[in-house]
Amino acid sequence: MINTQDVLETISMIRQENLDIRTITMGISLWDCVSEDTDRLCQRIYDKITKKAEHLVETGAGIEKKYGIPIVNKRVSVTPVSLIGGAATPEGYLKIAHTLQRAADEVGINFIGGFSALVQKGMTPGARNMIEVIPEALAQTRNVCSSVNVASTKAGINMDAIAMMGKAIKRAAYLTKDQNSIGCAKLVVFSNVPEDNPFMAGAFCGIGEPDVAINVGVSGPGVVASAIKRAGDCNLSELADVIKKTAFKITRVGQLVASEAAQALDVPFGIIDLSLAPTPAVGDSVAYILEEMGLESCGAHGTTAALAMLNDAVKKGGVMASSHVGGLSGAFIPVSEDAGMIAAVERGALSIEKLEAMTAVCSVGLDMIAIPGDTPEEVIDGIIADEIAIGVVNTKTTAVRVIPAYGKTVGDSVDFGGLLGRAPIMDLKSYSPAKFIRRGGRIPAPIQSLKN
């Protein structure tokens, strides 16, 4: 029997504490679209996406109505384009990006991910051609997202690829300078990239994935923050339990929505991603959770420990609530998308170095961080290399999504609007890593024993 208290708690989570399903992402394999003729490839890609995802948006809307819970995004992720593009020329890859945009427009989704390459060990000519046109692809499309995996714990770090990414990020910033360099917000550089991630900009449908699958990303930082507030003056063992219980409830809703969507679309259920994904809305912030745990400001000494506990408790609670967990699964700490993070940066409490330390204990990396527009590309390469090294050595996913906002400097901020939010420009070290970066080559895979 339904209990009054449970009904009120659920409604309050959704209405007051911003509980939502962040995304239903349909992974679509494009392997069967492969053709040596780029036009035929593009036609097959368009046909497959528009057929498989034809009812995705209306199905999502129906579930929203049925359970009274917002499903913020309906998205599609596809097989990394560099793999199915094969021998395509750079122009051919650009054509594929436009095809993805046309397909996204046709089915009404708000992002399509998979303009991606996996180059952790080396680069095929196809991957090189695709990476070369990433800036143009991002500037000429609205909803296409791109990601490049440049390292893994087993392969080491491809520094040549990182150098290409620094260049690509700078160029994407320039080509979208009239829109606050928004191109960079759709581009992520990864280490140990997951193949079933439903979150953008890093989503793609990995090579071991089925033909089509439904992956769901839940959210709910506001719900966790409120639960911690209600818990009052308890110790950290008790607090971890409060977080676990809340994460369980949040994830159960994700599981319900995922099963329902999979059934309605007659597509297998893939995974639930347990990430705590913030939004710029007041109260829907991971930084506020850390502050509710007892830090004066996010960024204070103690932040990494608090985040480590939060991230672990969210996973422990979520794992039992879902039949399959995957994707990124952890707390996100994007600066621009989190009102508490923005405030912490603006009051001088949170620096990029502290953010980097935080990424060692949580998902997923240096995310949505605006940096001065005149940052040299080698410095961006250095930021990427540092962050990727944390992932490679710790056998976890890390990523970098920085925006060198064209024409902006420390003290300015850039506003992307919507879920992408507003980012104050962060200060960087001015010393150059150029000589180190220009050496190129690969940093060997790290030893997996002697762990100190």
């Binding site: 339904i2 009054t4 009904v7 659920t10 409604i11 049925k66 009274g68 819970i69 809703v253 319900l256």
Partner: protein, 89 residues
């Protein structure tokens, strides 16, 4: 298949009647009502069987939301599964 209808807002005459009318019109069978008035505020949770609903559930949800808006109330109509899933193992 059951729906949970929650109604909150300033108490006035005929709230339950209006909600019950919509349920009756579209063949939703009311199974249970919990209701209280705190000061001038009204709060009600209604459980209704929607097996025999003669319109789409999403339209039924919209009609109740609209009724709430017209009367200055907040009405949420949700399938019971969300509560069962969230609060029961």
């Amino acid at each position: 298949m059951k729906a949970v209808i929650t109604v909150t807002g300033k108490d006035t005459v005929g709230i339950i009647a209006d909600v019950a009318n919509v349920c009756a019109k579209y063949n939703a069978n009311i199974l249970d009502i919990t209701q209280s008035v705190l000061g001038e505020y009204f709060a009600m949770i209604m459980l209704a069987d929607i097996k025999g609903l003669n319109i789409e559930f999403s339209v039924f949800v919209d009609l109740l939301t609209e009724l709430g808006e017209n009367r200055g109330l907040v009405i949420h109509t949700m399938h019971e599964d969300i509560f069962n899933t969230m609060h029961h193992i």
